[in-house]
């Protein structure tokens, strides 16, 4: 039942990504300062925004799970955080490439947004060992939700603290990131943001469908009283009914 609508969603994602990439390469003007490398902005920034929003969405699903006790929401929360962590890896890699190209270093400590993102990423990276160290599935789901809520509250606080720690007002090399974005760049950026968000939603839906299917398969096997190959599925992923 999770697979419903997956095909039109995937097609929309492919179309949006194709449109976004063509706009990036054929429509958006070259940046006056940074030239061609500035185009990574259309990949890096949407990924970062979608990953952060995804973390918050995972926290909201976790609240729904704690309030209702319905394990479905825990699976949603898990998949949302899981996808955002994967997007987070891409954010850090594209950020490093951009930093190398425009500042000459793979990592710079005086770019508060990038540093904040690293800390948030490290926080959510502990979600996996935390979750899988708890054996009882009921308790695992509850504790993982408490983690997701706690980490969700941590995200804005962390951004504030890191930004305050910049002792000097750092000259924002990317004047383009806030404000002064010309219309054509802004339009391209928004299309890329929508494409990335669609990609995230599609992947979340796909993973939920896969989990639900394997859960159904396991139940069918159990009904047939046949032992599952490999000893009864993984403990790792939360199950979806």
């Amino acid at each position: 039942m999770y697979g419903k609508g997956l095909r039109p969603l995937s097609i929309a994602t492919v179309v949006a990504i194709a449109a976004g990439l063509s706009l990036v390469f054929f429509y958006a003007p070259l940046d006056a300062d940074q030239g061609f490398i500035q185009k990574i902005f259309y990949l890096h920034v949407p990924l970062a925004i979608v990953a952060l929003v995804g973390f918050i969405v995972g926290g909201v699903f976790a609240i729904a799970h704690l309030r209702s006790g319905n394990r479905k929401w825990d699976a949603y929360s898990y998949v949302a955080i899981h996808m955002s962590v994967i997007f987070g890896v891409a954010v850090l890699i594209t950020g490093a490439i951009w930093a190398k190209a425009s500042w000459g270093h793979w990592w710079v400590w005086d770019e508060p947004t990038l540093v904040s993102f690293l800390i948030v990423f490290l926080m959510y990276a502990t979600y996996y060992p935390f979750r899988y160290a708890i054996e009882d599935p009921e308790r695992q789901a509850r504790y993982a939700s408490v983690f997701a809520v706690t980490a969700g509250a941590f995200v804005p606080l962390n951004f504030m603290a890191v930004r305050m720690a910049q002792s000097l007002v750092h000259p924002r090399t990317f004047g383009t990131a806030n404000g002064g974005l010309p219309g054509s760049m802004m339009f391209t950026f928004l299309v890329c943001l929508a494409a990335t968000a669609l990609l995230w939603v599609t992947l979340v839906k796909l993973e939920l469908t896969a989990k639900s299917t394997s859960g159904q398969l396991k139940r069918l096997r159990r009904a047939l009283d046949a032992p599952a190959p490999g000893g009864g599925g993984s403990r790792i992923a939360p199950e979806v009914s």
Binding site: T126, P129, F130, I134, E135, Y143, F147, V149, T150, M164
Partner: protein, 226 residues
């Protein structure tokens, strides 16, 4: 007194009494911190510290020493069935959170009472910074007590409990450490204590404390359900 308050006082008194009798956590934390200072003395090859270096050594040491206390916070409850007793008792479960957080706060305050003067003796020329430093220490302790209690109560139920507590807690207290070192750095400056942005850092610390105390209070019920 309401039943919750009675439970709070009773659990807290039990924890403090058992720590006083067994001395399981505090001496280990103090010894750990003192040895860490010695290691920093050779690692950094400095006999005097000031400014950001002093703040970094002090806070890194205090944080790691605090982790020792956090790890042990719920061990007795788990091993002796305290969690089941709390579940059976007709009291608000948040009383356990409040009592444990207060106990951890008390451990940290006693630890700092011992260890911070040793730090000043080892590395600082004068004790002038210690007065205003008390405010930073107390606010940071409150934050560590809130997050430490929350994480420890979950980690204690896992397979890898000694590993998991520090692993999750460390990134969670990064904003706290940023604010604590930010406030301490001018206090520990070489030319006598300064107060550059002292107030705003204390505000960040207070905000952190407030958020995680409220959050711990709100979610603790779910951690004891079974």
């Amino acid at each position: 007194m309401t039943p919750s308050r009675v439970a709070y006082v009773t659990i807290l008194a039990k924890d403090l009494r058992s720590e006083l009798r067994t001395l399981q956590s505090l001496p280990a934390m103090a010894l750990f911190a003192t040895t860490t200072f010695v290691i920093f003395r050779f690692g950094l090859d400095r006999t005097q510290l000031s400014g950001s270096l002093a703040a970094g050594v002090l806070w890194a040491t205090l944080l790691f020493a605090a982790l020792l206390g956090v790890n042990r916070l719920f061990v007795a409850e788990r091993e002796e069935g305290g969690f089941d007793a709390i579940r059976l008792a007709p009291i608000d479960r948040s009383a356990l959170f409040a009592a444990k957080a207060t106990a951890l706060f008390a451990y940290l305050a006693v630890l700092e009472l011992v260890v911070v003067p040793i730090f000043a003796l080892f590395f600082l020329g004068s004790a002038a910074a210690l007065g205003p430093l008390v405010a930073v220490l107390l606010l940071a302790d409150l934050g560590i007590a809130a997050t430490g209690t929350l994480i420890s109560s979950m980690a204690v139920h896992s397979r890898a409990r000694d590993l998991l507590g520090p692993l999750v807690l460390l990134p969670l207290v990064v904003p706290l450490m940023i604010a604590a070192t930010g406030a301490s750095e001018p206090l520990l400056a070489a030319g006598g204590p300064g107060y550059h942005r002292f107030g705003s850092w204390l505000a960040v610390l207070s905000l952190y404390d407030l958020i995680f105390l409220l959050l711990g209070w709100a979610v603790f019920d779910f951690l004891l359900e079974d």
